[in-house]
Amino acid sequence: MNAREARPGDLGISASRHAGREAKRELPGDVDVWVFVIGEMVVFAAYFAAYVVDRGRNQELFLQSQQLLSPGLGVVNTLVLLTSSLFVALSVRATRTADARTASQCLALGGACGAAFALIKSFEWYSKLRVGLTISTNAFFMHYYMMTGVHFFHVVLGLVLLTILWREIHHTDAPRAWVIESGACYWHAIDLLWIVIFALLYLMR
């Protein structure tokens, strides 16, 4: 995130670069973060493909195991993460209008929702492990723990990024919009991936 953080002498360059970007209506965020996000989509697509292939081989087992999940917690988590994305998007909008106070408040709320997602997910795992449903129970639970686990790792990484964005808004006089946008792109990608995971694991019949 901070790779192009301007040193005092660079401020002019950074500002003009940003101005040019606005004028041409380019991608939000910088190109590097899009390489990352699209790559993540491809990698997750491989997990999804592996799941669907295994599911096709043993549909009965997958359907039965699916009944053992807690759809309520899944729905709550989906709503929590969508709300989080909304706050982060509002924060980006506030940054563009140089409203640092709203930007920082929305970002903090977005981060809090992200943390709530992680807590609920941990509780869900705990409740499954407690009744003996582990990663080696069967193929369905192997995919369940791996997909949600890898996604969890991304949420934690995203929370670190949101903290960096929050510092950017708090500790610089003019937070750079492209930095906030880059972090927000990644956070929305995590949200999008969760929606697919939720559909595959909890809803697919």
Partner: protein
């Protein structure tokens, strides 16, 4: 002071001034050479890549080792001889990482963690199979043990590589001199995740997360190859752009 004086006095005979980046280019070329050898050893000779299944029966494992014994010996003796080449690639990467504005401690951590990672990630696997091939008439149950130890170590040696990718990603993202492109730092996060998803290879003997699985092995290897190619290309650019006065100073 003395050094600059010497350089100025004997410009034509000072090899370093004539080819100031020669040492780095030698190290750079070692990378494609090493990985071609690596491919030859693991794919062609020993057939450890792609890995044989963890679900093989005892008889199949014994057959794999006995019919493959000579190739295992050729391959892994070659590995024992040439694995040191990997240190040249670590050397040049660390030289370039030290130029970054991010803390040098990350460069040293990178060097240290790769020095350790070579053992479980490569050499240990080779030793297990060369041991098995040394006496292929050994008790079949011991051959199975060596087979498991070799392959689990090869695919399941995660922790060192996780930290390697992590310190590399942090160094690039924090670097303000843009020695490496920032997307290479982000790509290292994919590498990190592929190591994490290889974790279940310690548990499963089949499926996408086993040591020969679609995710643990194939996805991980595909991302590693893409990452390595991008690293080598970025490294070329970094050495090319390095100002001469920085080297000669």
């Amino acid at each position: 002071m003395t050094r600059t004086a010497t350089v100025a006095a004997r410009p034509a005979t000072d090899g370093r001034r004539l080819r100031p980046k020669l040492d780095q280019w030698i190290c750079w070329w070692s990378i494609p050479i090493f990985y071609n050898l690596f491919g030859l050893i693991f794919v062609y000779f020993t057939k450890i890549m792609p890995p044989p299944s963890p679900g093989l029966t005892q008889d199949e494992i014994v057959a794999f080792i006995r019919t493959n014994a000579t190739n295992l010996q050729i391959g892994f003796v070659l590995l024992a001889l040439t694995l040191g080449l990997a240190s040249l690639s670590s050397g040049i990467i660390v030289v370039q990482m030290r130029r970054m504005s991010s803390a040098r401690v990350l460069a040293y951590a990178y060097l240290a963690v790769l020095a350790v990672a070579a053992l479980p990630g490569c050499l240990f696997c080779g030793f297990m199979f060369v041991l098995a091939a040394f006496r292929p008439d050994r008790d079949p149950r011991i051959l199975v043990l060596l087979y498991d130890m070799g392959l689990l170590s090869f695919v399941g040696s995660l922790g060192c590589f996780v930290i390697q990718y992590l310190v590399f990603a942090i160094a690039i993202v924090l670097d303000k001199r843009a020695i490496f492109p920032k997307w290479l730092g982000y790509m290292s996060i994919w590498g990190l995740v592929t190591e994490l998803v290889a974790l279940p290879s310690w548990i499963f003997r089949g499926g996408p997360y086993a040591w020969n699985g679609a995710i643990s092995f194939w996805l991980g290897t595909a991302i590693f190859v893409v990452w390595e190619v991008c690293l080598v290309v970025s490294l070329y650019g970094a050495v090319k752009r390095q100002p001469l006065d920085e080297i000669l100073a």
